[in-house]
């Protein structure tokens, strides 16, 4: 494991920017003039809020139980000369479901179009967590997987080969133990690389769907591309339409799907932002 941040002075790593948390400036709730938007997604109780707090210096309530975060929390940080806005999303088991907290998460990844999505996965329950990771990778091209709770995995004698994982998923995989800040510098570097385009993700996509489905998707994608040029994740929208997802059908009807092509992610979902602010100030 290469998660330790305690590197002897004089070692090459000690001078590497990735190991210098001094490069991180926690900006708290100051998120003005951001260059990139980062979303934090993942299963419930995997440590999203802990990572959020570590990066922003805020104290979003963390607690050892699933369902702690039900709204979006936003904060800012600066790293490698870029200003980031980071959005902590409620934990979800899937992006296909119906409850309001999961809807908040899905809408943001889909409509908010973050520049990078950090998918936080629990290293001790990797298989189940990967279900969500794969679903997020269906939607977005730019993601980093934070393999969190590595300390717990180690305690249980579980080892995870993050290189094999990164190869299979096609995105950077960074082992972390956010509670003790381990791996946070490496995570920041990976986010930076993906945001600036230095690292180009080749995310895992579902390939072996049945032929009938494949051609149906292709037909729908063609039509969608004509009606909504520049729409990202067309394939996913087509899949959801085939599945009869009411929220997506509504979005097509009301022409809201066009909003997906907007450049400024801060401008979409204004109502959700308001909702969050009201809750925080209540």
């Amino acid at each position: 494991m290469t998660t330790s941040v305690k590197i002897p002075a004089g070692h090459n790593c000690a001078t590497c920017p990735a190991h210098n948390l001094g490069n991180l400036t926690k900006l708290g709730i100051n998120m003005e003039n951001w260059d990139y938007v980062v979303a934090l997604a993942g299963n419930p109780n995997t440590g999203k809020s802990t990572i959020f707090n570590a990066l922003t210096g805020l104290r979003q309530h963390t607690g050892n139980w699933p369902g702690k975060t039900v709204t979006r929390a936003e904060g800012g940080f600066e790293f490698g000369g870029h200003r980031y806005k980071i959005v902590d999303l409620p934990g979800t088991y899937s992006l296909l479901s119906t409850s309001l907290d999961e809807e908040v998460a899905r809408n943001f990844i889909l409509f908010g179009q973050p520049d990078v999505t950090i998918i936080v996965a629990d290293a001790t329950r990797l298989e189940r967590n990967l279900n969500l990771v794969l679903q997020v990778l269906e939607i977005t091209d730019r993601a980093v997987v934070a393999l969190n709770l590595m300390d717990e995995a180690r305690r249980h004698g579980i080892t995870v080969d993050e290189r094999s994982l990164a190869r299979d998923l096609g995105v950077p995989v960074i082992p972390t133990a956010a509670r003790s800040r381990q791996g946070v510098p490496e995570l920041l570097q990976a986010v930076n690389d993906v945001a600036t385009g230095e690292y180009v993700c080749k995310p895992h996509r579902i390939k072996n769907e049945p032929p009938a489905l494949k051609s149906a998707i292709r037909a729908l994608v063609e039509q969608l591309e004509i009606a909504f040029p520049g729409l990202p994740n067309v394939r996913w929208v087509a899949l959801r339409l085939l599945d009869g997802d009411q929220r997506i059908i509504e979005a097509v009807k009301r022409g809201e799907l066009g909003d997906l092509t907007r450049d400024d992610p801060g401008q979409t979902n204004g109502d959700l932002v308001l909702q969050l602010q009201e809750v925080q100030h209540a």
Binding site: R59, N64, V70, L100, D101, I206, L242
Partner: protein, 487 residues
């Protein structure tokens, strides 16, 4: 934005294009069949399993002794689950009550016996007019001093303890224990989670019901959240239990009996939550409970100092600040109504005398009812208001320099004061009950309106507990008096 390329349809064609897409989707959905969704999910699961299998190496032999599982067997056991829960919470309150005594007495001595006379002297020295001196010092300062002396010590002990339990991973186990009863009440099992949040703050609890996907069950969870005692009400429970219930037994048992009384009231709240959920899901909000899976997270050793620090800064100071913000104007208002007189009688006296007969029917009194009207914005100021009004109504001269003044705050003095105001054990018990069962604070009511978007359900959520509170205190008062007559 949509009209940039040559291939784009003209503006007015967009709805048609959208309709075309939906038509195609509908047609294809029939062709692909219902299996599309399952196929995709299946593919995702297969891929996840394959990728995980390649990357993860589990230990060869599972450890023979699994601490997490052993603890879980105990704390979620059918026999031991509930007794352990009650024991643990009693312990938390006992530590709070016993531990808060000394700092509470110290703070009252400091703020009321030392600082207050100094301020009075200072104000006399610079020659403040009597009404300004009264409004600022006898009204605003004393109300704030009361809030700090009464609320800060129990909060500074209770919140860190509760947060430690939360960090450790105990709360989902409580939810697990309660889940079955909620299901039998026709409510969602996750209501136990929003109730846990409600024990901190009902407004936060109401927001946290978002984890419940069925609107029917979510509404039930919102309406019943008020039955979880919140931050603002714990200090009332703790103080009144310490003064009146703890005093019934020898001193060495006082702490534990008071703690049990507080746990009892909290448990009654949980019972009410079940009862109301049950009634709602059989009348206005009929339906079956939906199933869900609750993940029991691993126990994690709490980060002790960090927890203490954040719960002190975030919760204790936050709640205290909120209390002070509301206590300042409330203190001023109380001083004003106590000093503005019509025909030789103060406004406060008119109000209290008017409410008194009504209060007595419910085993309460006019002062308590008036305090609850004053405290609609924040439950935190009930106790300071009650004390200030009582001083006023019992003839202030023996307690301080003028109306609205409160000199002594140690428990014995408070007790004497309240007894002089005609308080009995019945008053104390019914105040504890009424503190549990009354309308939510204005912030919570507003949050309920924001979350439900319905005036009707907001009204139900606000008035239902109030009606129940009056009903319960009425019954208790009548039964109590019947027994005292017979005895």
């Amino acid at each position: 934005m949509l009209n940039t390329g040559q291939m784009n349809p003209p503006d007015n064609a967009l709805p048609n294009a959208a309709q075309d897409i939906l038509d195609t989707a509908n047609r294809l959905r029939w062709e692909v069949g219902n299996s599309a969704h399952e196929k995709i999910v299946e593919t995702i699961y297969t891929d996840a399993a394959r990728i995980a299998d390649r990357a993860v190496v589990y230990p060869d032999t599972p450890p023979r002794f699994n601490l997490d599982r052993t603890i879980d067997h105990l704390v979620t056991s059918r026999i031991w689950g509930f007794p352990l829960m009650i024991l643990l919470f009693t312990l938390v309150f006992w530590i709070t009550i016993v531990g808060a005594n000394y700092p509470s007495a110290f703070l009252s001595w400091l703020l009321l016996d030392e600082v207050y006379p100094l301020l009075k002297e200072g104000s006399a020295f610079i020659g403040l007019p009597w009404w300004l001196d009264g409004l600022l010092l006898d009204g605003m300062y004393l109300a704030t001093a009361w809030v700090i002396a009464v609320m800060l010590p129990p909060m500074a002990i209770f919140f860190p303890l509760f947060t430690l339990l939360e960090d450790f991973g105990y709360l989902p186990r409580v939810a697990f224990n309660l889940d079955n009863i909620f299901k039998k009440s026709g409510a969602h099992g996750k209501q136990s989670l929003s109730m846990m949040m409600g024990f901190g703050c009902n407004a936060a609890g109401v927001v946290s019901t978002r984890v419940i996907d069925s609107p029917r069950e979510r509404l039930i969870a919102i309406i019943t959240n008020n039955f979880a005692l919140c931050n603002g009400r714990w200090p009332t429970q703790i103080l009144i239990a310490t003064l009146f219930v703890g005093a019934l037994v020898p001193a060495y048992l006082g702490g534990i009996i008071s703690a049990l009384a507080v746990v009892g009231v909290a448990m009654l709240g949980v019972l009410m939550s079940f009862a109301v959920s049950w009634s709602l899901s059989r009348t206005w909000l009929k339906g079956e409970a939906s199933t869900f899976s609750l993940e029991l997270p691993p126990y994690r050793p709490p980060r002790f100092w960090q927890t203490i620090y954040t719960s002190l800064i975030d919760r204790t100071i936050y709640v205290l600040w909120r209390a002070i913000v509301f206590a300042l104007p409330a203190g001023a208002a109380i001083w004003l109504i106590a000093n503005i007189t019509i025909g030789g009688t103060s406004l406060a006296a008119y109000m209290v005398n008017f409410l008194n007969p009504l209060g007595l029917i419910f085993g309460l009194n006019g002062v308590i009812l008036l305090a609850y009207v004053v405290a609609i914005p924040a439950n935190e100021i009930v106790i300071p208001t009650v004390l200030m009004l009582t001083v006023l109504m019992t003839g202030a001269s023996q307690y301080g320099a003028g109306a609205g003044v409160m000199f002594e705050a140690s428990h014995q003095e408070t007790m004497t004061l309240l007894q002089a105001g005609g308080w009995t054990l019945l008053t104390a018990v019914n105040l504890m009950l009424f503190s549990l069962l009354h309308n939510p604070c204005s912030t919570t009511i507003y949050t309920i309106y924001k979350e439900t978007g319905s005036r009707r359900w907001t009204t139900v959520a606000a008035l239902l507990p109030l009606v129940m509170g009056f009903a319960v205190t009425f019954i208790v008062a009548q039964v109590w008096r019947l027994f005292s007559l017979m005895g």
